[in-house]
Amino acid sequence: MAGTGKAHLRDGGARLTVKDLVVEFRTKGDQRVQAVSGVSFDVLPGETLSIVGESGCGKSSVARAVMHLPAPTDGAVQLNALDLGSLDKKALRRSRVAMQIVFQDPVASLNPRRKVKDLVQEGASIWGRGTAKSRDRDAREVLDAVGLDPDVVWNRRPHELSGGQCQRVSIARALVMEPDLLICDEILSSLDVSIQAQMLNLLRETKAQRQLSMLFIAHDLAVVKNISDRILVMYLGKVCEVLDVEALDRPATHHPYTQLLLESVPTVGSSRVVPSKAPAGQDLPSPLNPPSGCRFRTRCPLATPRCAVEEPRLERKSDDQFIACHEVA
């Protein structure tokens, strides 16, 4: 299939490698919708890769497909050079522990009926790791590491905690399993600004301490820039651009969609925004019937007839930037 290219993949040493990932859903009318159509990327040990895009671009589907929850329709997911697709159910359950996921809604991620101590120890108790005593100790340690006082929260239930605290419990629950890869699916979007900043700092520290690889799913480029090493921009199930975060700091040409995202980030400052009087841009096209050729062409200011027939592939623009566009080269 006309993939989006693999020019940006690096040779060897990756902790996570995803190739030609396809995620398909069936709708009620038995139609098939591709939420993700041929996405490839890799994450090195200790690296944070962010996936950015608007809602409906398939970024959360990528996260779940990597976890095999459920397994992707097509494509390969390799964790530490082990192909997850080739594993049987039991082996998959075991190797999935090396990847942990934290979700957007801090409260829905925690079973309301359980106490914090049980929530954090859940993984260890599933796998029968250690003794009750050592589990308690590990849980306390990791709660402390995410900035919660174990003595205070130990016997609390989720509804007695704030959103930020719940999110910390979720992170603690993931970290207790000592994962190689932490997947964060929009974990900041439901938190307040001041809490968001605390979490960003926490994630950055944790990652450095534990040599953690992170897959960070988000929609806000300013947040993403703060935490990532590498950024992958997705649009309607396809990759538009892959770039190292440093490329954002120098004047560079970007994929028109990345450019649109960059311009849409609200900036704080005393200067007045001049509102554009341009007519409403086109909405996101339906994923049921994506545009031919380049999927962004219906909203793209640079679109040419070529974009409707030929799908652009990711091409190397510089050492740290790969763009899938016919017009920007």
Partner: protein, 335 residues
């Protein structure tokens, strides 16, 4: 001085809950001139949404809710006005745009019905006139193929389009005051920009006063004449937007701004954060509400609530120990 369009004095909204009295809005005062945009920023629980709803008269006093103070719109005290008088003002002169456009639109009513209903309630219009006006309104908020959208249901529209419909509904009777409560929080960034731009243009064209409520300083920045930051039910600092973003005196807005990730700051910047979290209003035992999180806290702050004071440069400030701008003193900066 020109008489303000909206004159709010010492507004308080107190909810009785099982855990005690929660003063969600605890003494808010401000004036809003015709055509002016006031940006109100605060985190969840700061009382910013309750403030908007109280002004709008959507928080009805009851056994569990008490509303005190003055909300004077164009000479009428909205809190004292008869229900009939209030109904005549709401929707016609004062309109509101809510956060979630899906739950604010009735799923079984067509888009057009939403619009014509408000129109026909406040104005004597025939069915066909109302329809014509509704299509014009949809056009005005730049909804493509307005005539076709008229007969569609809310779920057939995207989030951005639904929010545009909400704006069209709010503007249908040419209000003089628009309260926009987190109008773009449910939307994607690219759509957010479009909707905010649309609001700004419409407000300018119609000389409409606007209260823009948001949790994000970035949304208010560059789109308001004045900015007010709320914390624990009070406006802790307010100033003309330009002055506000140049320097914040109160440590809370300072912290809020420092903890917002910026696109133009270098990658992987360690953010300065505001430690801790907002206070539990039901359990509050006096002192400045920000004192537990404040870097400049002193003994006095823990005991007394700082009063809201007006500085000479047109700011208001509720802080005993404000942060002075470099090379200037706090209260003496005359313009």
């Amino acid at each position: 001085m020109i008489k303000p369009l909206l004159h709010v004095r010492d507004l308080r909204t107190v909810f009785q809950t099982a855990r005690g009295a929660v003063p969600a809005v605890a003494g808010v005062s401000f004036d809003l001139q015709a055509g002016e945009t006031l940006g109100i920023v605060g985190e969840s629980g700061s009382g910013k949404s309750v403030l908007g709803r109280t002004i709008m008269g959507l928080v009805a006093p009851s056994r569990t809710t008490a509303v005190h103070g003055t909300v004077e719109y164009d000479g009428t005290d909205l809190l004292q006005a008869s229900p009939k008088r209030r109904r005549a003002l709401l929707g016609a002169e004062i309109a509101m745009v809510f956060q979630d456009p899906l739950s604010s639109l009735n799923p079984v009513k067509r888009i057009g019905i939403h619009l014509t209903e408000t129109l026909r309630q406040h104005r004597e219009l025939s069915r066909s006139e109302a329809r014509k006006r509704a299509v014009e309104l949809l056009d005005m908020v730049r909804i493509p193929e307005a005539a076709r959208r008229f007969d569609q249901y809310p779920h057939e529209l995207s989030g951005g389009m639904r929010q545009r419909v909400m704006i069209a509904m709010a503007l249908s009777c040419d209000p003089k005051l628009l309260i926009a409560d987190e109008p773009t929080t449910a939307l994607d960034v690219t759509v957010q920009r479009q909707v905010l731009d649309l609001l700004a243009v419409l407000c300018q064209e119609r000389k409409m006063a606007t209260i823009l409520i948001s949790h994000d300083l970035g949304i208010v920045s560059g789109r308001s004449d004045r900015v007010a930051v709320m914390y624990a039910g009070r406006i802790v600092e307010s100033a003309a937007a330009e002055d506000f973003f140049r320097h914040q005196h109160h440590p809370y807005p300072r912290g809020l701004l420092a903890s917002t990730p910026q696109l133009d700051s270098p990658a992987r910047t360690v953010l300065t954060t505001v430690p801790g979290r907002p206070p539990d209003l039901a359990r509050w035992r006096g002192g400045c509400h920000f004192s537990p999180r404040c870097p400049n806290v002193q003994e006095r702050c823990r005991q007394f609530e700082p009063p809201v004071e007006q500085t000479t440069d047109g700011r208001t400030l509720a802080c005993f120990h404000p942060v002075a701008p470099k090379g200037g003193e706090v209260n003496g900066r005359n313009r």
